[in-house]
Amino acid sequence: MKLFPIKGGIHPEYRKELTSEKPIVALPIPSVLYLPVQQHMGAAASTVVKVGDVVLKGQMLARGQGVVSAPVHAPTSGKIVEIAEMTAPHPSGLPMLTIVLEADGKDQWADLPAPIADPFAESTQVIRARVGESGIVGLGGATFPSAVKLGLGDKNKLEILLLNGAECEPYLTCDDRVMREYAAEVIDGARIMAHALGAPQVVIAIEDNKPQATEAMRKAASAQPNVTIVGVPVQYPMGAERHLTQAVTGRETPARKLTADVGVVVHNVATARAIHHAVRFGRPLLSRVVTVSGHGIKEPKNIEVPLGTPINDLLGFCGGINGQIKRLVSGGPMMGQPIVDTAVPVVKGTSGVLALTGDEVNERPTQPCIRCGTCVSICPCGLVPVEMAALIRNERLEEAAAIGLQDCVSCGSCSYICPSYVPLVHYFNYAKGRLNALDRERRKTEQTKALVEARNARLERVAQAKRDAAARAKAQSQNSDVNKADA
């Protein structure tokens, strides 16, 4: 298959060999699971259980609210012991409503929805409803509710379901292992998704550094004429949705549009596997494969982890932390988030847990920018990071936005490559958040003004009504006076 070049990007040290040959092992069910009600993009789910309830494996604990949301299920059977605000798996360390489930050790299944015997005979709505009620979200890390993304075929004529097996983040091997060990499940899930989307073709893109996965997938897809496996060059951020679309189809998604607008929908390989489970067996999303790696981990592993497992348990299962670690990261080292507390749980978007030593992180104090322009030449989005950062440093956020701040996907390439160790992406994250905050303030001022005007109008109406009433009363009394006078 003909490929197309993508601009910029970097070639970080991948260090995937730490876990790439480690088969996926299942984590024994932990004694207590912590399930935040929001593990996805969109609105938080609302709890449908109360403290003291006994729940079974696969039972819904919190229901999705609105269109863009996802439910949360019990990963094992047990008792709800607490529902409270607890530290969220988020860099802010702020609290989130969390359902605490004490496992009873029986791991007893609830009554699951019936398997869909022939998904290809069902309508797209049926498939989407099943995916939605199974709580499946994008497992690549973006955690966007998959059912919503499977509805993109309604408005767009789709040609390709592009399954993302690039796994361009260093260290992470969870998708690699899933493709190697569960190739048939992934292919089946992908075909179901393509059917739901109305996309005639499935392309599965895998970076060339995963030959075994490519081989396994080729074998599993050999009977499917409309499924193509393609090897894409090893180049970070190849796995970014728009860039992968460009590399495989040559189509450049316009700014502020979706890849669906150019006929392509991108899903992660692990998501396809989850959809296979939901459709064929009625199983909701209860666990995911997590890569636990880094030189700070005694025994790096790929683990199938029940959602809600505390990171502490995961580290313990891997022999614990080895010596001095500099950073503990959830996700990959490029776009992952720092872990603020090892008590926080694994959630749907946790693709990796990395304990990184000082050598691996290679942090140094920031030096003055020497305008070398490397960030400009490697930016996969064609932006000018050096200039945006300079504007943001001077609080000229609007100007930074005018030259493309909102087009930045925070891939981290510029920060990674900067010889002066300027935290460019940190500047952009700050500016994006600050601009959002300012926007909220602006909307609040607008709202305040509208409310003040409404109140003034109301007070005016009340005053007018009083005046009218007084006038009427006066007129009446005058009338009666006249009547009296007449009388």
């Binding site: 360390g93 450049e252 322009g373 030449s377 050096v386 940190h426």
Partner: protein, 359 residues
């Protein structure tokens, strides 16, 4: 275990640093420098040392006065590089005080008055060179014929100290004009370029440096090797050097074909003066050149064009330094107007039109 979080990702970093970049540039300059020292003898070695040490000393002083950490900043190697490039652009036997004044202009005025590394608008080494060129034209245009170390014409260490730190009559006896200067002088005497070029150093001599000229302009070949090394190491990209040299070569070739009596040929433009040094090492200075590749092409073209104009029509025989400074002034404007095309957008910054896909 709770962990303090002070930084967003990424949580890994390429093994790069400013000092690594600077070290690579210095390494690229080293062969040419050693060759030039051999070529021009002890006085050149002393001149080189005086210039580099002045720059480093002045940098330390400026940092101290502005209450910034001296040690770590000196370690980035930028002052050494500025001094090194400045020395490359000086006459090989320039007296110590000229070197020192040039260093003052380069480090104190061009660099630290603007706020230090990364903040300067103009290339410090070129500011230093231009300042002394217009102030001390005699000292700055007195070039010596190469006399390799150990040869009869090469002064000993003691004599060399006299040449650089005192006044010695030897300089006058050995002085010669640079190739560009020679052509210019002859042209002003009414001798056409087509004739004078025959008596000027030939291309081999220009490439190997066996002719009079600035310390760094006389070994075009080794400088070129150094430049290619930098491109191979991805310290610089090809855009600026190719644009500078291509423009000079094209203009030289075209105009020399039109009127060989008035204009020097493209090959001569390429190999004489500081063309190669300027194209690979001076014009590519990170701080003062545009950050985008397309901007660098425009910038390189501007330098090539201005260098040719100054060499051909102005009073000075060499125009590289002036051309670089003039284009430095345009760098912010180039950066403002020439940006890379953003993903999913047109050059103007509008979202790309949707060509397909909508029902």
């Amino acid at each position: 275990m709770r962990i303090a979080v002070d930084k967003s990702g990424p949580f890994t970093h390429a093994p790069t640093s400013v000092s690594r970049t600077m070290t690579l540039v210095l390494a690229a300059l080293l062969p040419a420098t050693l060759y030039d020292i051999w070529l021009f003898g002890w006085p050149a070695a002393l001149m080189f040392l005086v210039t580099v040490l002045s720059c480093v000393g002045l940098e330390a002083m400026c940092l101290y006065l502005s209450k910034r950490p001296v040690g770590p900043t000196l370690a980035d190697g930028s002052a050494v590089l500025t001094g090194w490039l400045l020395a490359m652009s000086m006459p090989p036997w320039a007296p110590w005080w000229v070197c020192f004044v040039a260093a003052v202009f380069a480090i104190c005025l061009a660099k630290h008055a603007f706020g230090g590394l990364g903040q300067n608008v103009f290339n410090p080494a070129m500011v230093g060179r231009i300042a002394v060129l217009v102030s001390f034209p005699l000292q700055m245009t007195t070039f010596v014929r190469p006399a390799p170390l150990g040869s009869a014409g090469s002064p000993g260490l003691i004599d060399s100290i006299g040449i650089i730190f005192g006044h010695s009559a030897m300089l006058d006896s050995l002085s010669a004009a640079s190739a560009l200067g020679y052509i210019k002088t002859e042209l002003s005497r009414g001798i056409p370029v087509s004739q004078s070029i025959l008596t000027a150093p030939d291309l081999t001599s220009l490439a190997l440096g066996t002719h009079a000229g600035s310390f760094g302009e006389t070994s075009a070949f080794l400088i070129l090797l150094g430049g290619l090394f930098l491109i191979a190491k991805r310290v610089i990209s090809w855009h600026i050097p190719v644009a500078v040299m291509g423009t000079l070569f094209l203009l030289g070739t075209v105009f020399s074909a039109i009127n060989p009596d008035r204009f020097t040929p493209g090959t001569f433009q390429l190999l004489s003066g500081a063309t190669i040094l300027g194209a690979f090492f001076i014009a590519t200075d990170y701080v003062t050149s545009p950050v985008s590749k397309s901007g660098q092409l425009v910038y390189g073209f501007g330098i090539g064009f201005l260098t040719w104009v100054i060499r051909t029509f102005a009073g000075y025989p060499e125009g590289m330094a002036f051309a670089v400074l003039l284009m430095n002034a345009l760098t912010p404007i180039i950066d403002h107007h020439i940006r890379p095309r953003a993903f999913g957008r047109t050059r103007k910054g509008e979202p790309l039109p949707l060509n397909r896909g909508n029902k």
